[in-house]
């Protein structure tokens, strides 16, 4: 069985984000980087599947600068067999469509039985990449999974719907699944596995070799949320309070204009 898991490296979400000079993304310097949380569920599920079927080969794919290799090594230490790195320093400028074409271009040649991705990335949050890849490959996609099982070429899964409702779904492989929080508890790589991962194969291919397509979307502007002013407590007797309030409303708002 051939399995692919696609991961993305994202900033530690506790970082202080600043908008970059171009105004179309966040500033990438001085950030700490991690594996996208949803992709950790994807890697964990893929590794569990590999352990279940035994005879399986599990590739982890990641697009980005050389920096992302560190995150790929974590996936290898968690149990992936090999890494496929698409070297692209400007991956953050690519939209979900452009990213998906790269993955699909690679996956087409490899004919994977099952592809795992996260439900969305923590930084862009489009939730499109997995579905687009499936579409491009002409295979079914099951999204937002909170339960997964596999037997004899069939995936049985539970999807999370709004309001806590779950849907049972099933499809035959080849297929693609996107993973949601609650699917599993990702393992942390043990030290021996971290050391063993060093010896696993990691192929790096320049993005140009995969004939990247132009993005269909352009991010025009990224802005931080507006700062909310702190509350204000007025003190005094009721008549005085009313005066203060009217004064404030006149000065600071258009409510009485």
């Amino acid at each position: 069985m051939k399995i692919l898991v696609c991961i993305k490296q994202v900033p530690d979400m506790e970082s202080r984000f600043k908008v970059n000079a171009a105004g179309n993304w966040y500033e990438e310097t001085d950030l700490a980087w991690r594996m996208n949380e949803y992709d950790e569920y994807a890697v964990e599920q893929a590794v569990q599947l590999k352990q279940q079927v035994g005879d399986a080969d599990l590739t982890v794919l990641c697009i980005g600068s050389d920096r992302v290799k560190e995150t790929m090594k974590k996936a290898l230490a968690m149990g992936c067999d090999r890494g496929f790195h698409i070297a692209d320093d400007d991956s953050y400028l690519k939209d979900p469509f452009a990213i998906a074409t790269l993955i699909a271009a690679y996956a087409k040649e490899q004919s994977f039985d099952l592809i795992f991705t996260g439900m969305q990335s923590q930084d862009r949050g489009s939730g499109q990449v997995g579905v687009l890849v499936a579409e491009m490959l002409g295979i079914p996609s099951l999204t937002t999974l909170v339960e997964f099982s596999y037997a004899d070429g069939t995936v049985n899964a539970k999807r999370e719907l709004e309001g806590g409702i779950k849907a049972k779904v099933s499809c035959a492989t080849p297929a693609l699944v996107t993973c949601q929080l609650g699917l599993n508890t990702p393992r942390y790589p043990t030290l021996p596995n971290i050391m063993k991962a060093k010896k696993k194969e990691m192929i790096s291919t320049p993005v140009a070799d995969l004939n990247p397509e132009a993005s269909l979307l352009e991010v025009l502007q990224v802005t931080p949320p507006e700062k909310k002013g702190g509350g204000l407590i007025l003190e005094g007797d009721p008549a005085d309070l009313a005066d203060q309030l009217i004064k404030l409303l006149k000065e600071k708002t258009t409510a009485l204009a």
Partner: protein, 592 residues
Amino acid sequence: MAGKIMKGGEFLIAESECQDIFTPEDFTDEQRAMAETTEQFVENEIIPHHDEIEGQNFEHVVEGMKKCGELGLLMMDAPEEEGGLELDKASSMLVGEKISTSGSFSVAYAAHTGIGTLPLIYYGTTEQKEKYLEKIITGEWCSAYCLTEPGSGSDALGAQASAVLSEDGKNYILNGTKQYITNGGFAELFTVFAKVDKQHFTAFLVEKSFAGLVVGNEEKKMGIKGSSTTQIILDNCQVPVENVLGEIGKGHKIAFNSLNIGRFKLGAGVTGASKMALGEGIRYANERKQFNRQISSFGAIQEKIADLTASIYASESLVYRLAGLLDDKIATIDKGVDDYYDQYLKAIEEYAPECGISKVFCSDVLAKTVDEVVQIHGGYGFCSEYPAERYYRDERINRIFEGTNEINRLLTSGMILKRAMKGELPLQAESMKAFESLMTPSFEDVDESIPFIAEKMTIQNLKTLFLILSGAGVQKYMDKLADEQEILMAASDIVIQIFAIESAVLRAEKIIDTLSPAKQEQLRAAVKVATFNATEVAASAAKKGAYMVEEGDALTMILSGVRRYTKYDASGLLEAKRTLAAAANDAEKYIF
């Protein structure tokens, strides 16, 4: 790997190249992954049980150690033949730094992986390792180390515990009481020191199940309350002769070598604890409002945050520079040789002065950190509802165990002077040169293009000053200097500050070009604040030393040297502190 490997203590007379030192920025992806695994382990497996552990529900400690075993966190130092990973010191120190955020649990971990395991690894026979090591590195058994006795703490070799060979020659019969034994309550394997026939200091591997080993009550402690500390009473305890560890009469080597390692590991652990406490202090300062403002906006609070950030930066730089020194030296030893561990321990002993520096400097930084973090919390820092109170209590032990900070200060300067007198370090020749420089006026022609030149010159000057003072001390007291502890304490304070800021400056020089402009500015600020603070400490120690060693004209001359060699132009100090504080307050954590 360094181009040139410095000898222990040689930093006092030679200049290091920044390319030759190891820094946290040199960690490999694998090392960073180990750090992340450790952080996640602490967060998910220990923090949720924190209150139970503090309540001495040791099941959670024992369980946690088993989990550590599964993750490979107990096998870093063990040889590959015995199922270990044999990783470098930088890795084990990084993991030690990360585990330290687990509070009391980290004491159990440190004792187990350090003094509890290393004697077996370094001195155990193949049979002993086969019998015990797997249990230890999987966490199936916890381990403890029994050196201290009620009547002998710092004076460890003064132990009274006795070992006598049984009539049939099969067992040693141990009698005595061991005091303050970490993990005593749940350990299964104890490395016990006792004197064979009242004179030959020897280590023994003692299983809990051996007849005559009695575990005493838990001590009621000020801090690290969730760690187990008990007496171990040996009441005609029967230990098979094959459980003698190392050679009879050579126990002191085991004891001292284990302590050397314990000391640099402690440096890493307390550095992690400092970072954690600082983060807590900053978050509180951002949260707390007085006078309608966040208290983090007040200069008085910002200065604390800036000073602590700079000190922790120095502490971290020092710890990993030392890791690099040890790793480079150990890497020169041929793994195949029979006396591998002999050479290995000699390599570590070479840096015994630096190990002592690491222990003292980094634990003093933690002490200052937790004190200020309580202060930032105001009254809330005094109450146990906030973690600052526990940090304050937990910190205290670090200046007491693994050799008190006095013992370590005395050892540090004492060893350096001893090596100088034996001719192993050319301190005397350098000291003569330093005296000459004292008598010639200085023409300071500064090449401003050299990065961190002001700091480098200050470091150079402090070295000169140390040479002058130690030279004067040696001249006056000769080999009796060891009895003049006040002077040795002053000397070691200078040595410690030199090593710390030199590490901080070399690291900055090595990494600065890789950083964003904002980060560069913060790094320069940290270097400035750290150098200024260190120079003030060293200047005060030097002055004290001068008054203690000399009088009359010689005193006047040395005091003028103190003034001349402790000048540091810290122009822009206020901006530097504000830069550091602003960045730290924004990140809400240690920023480097």
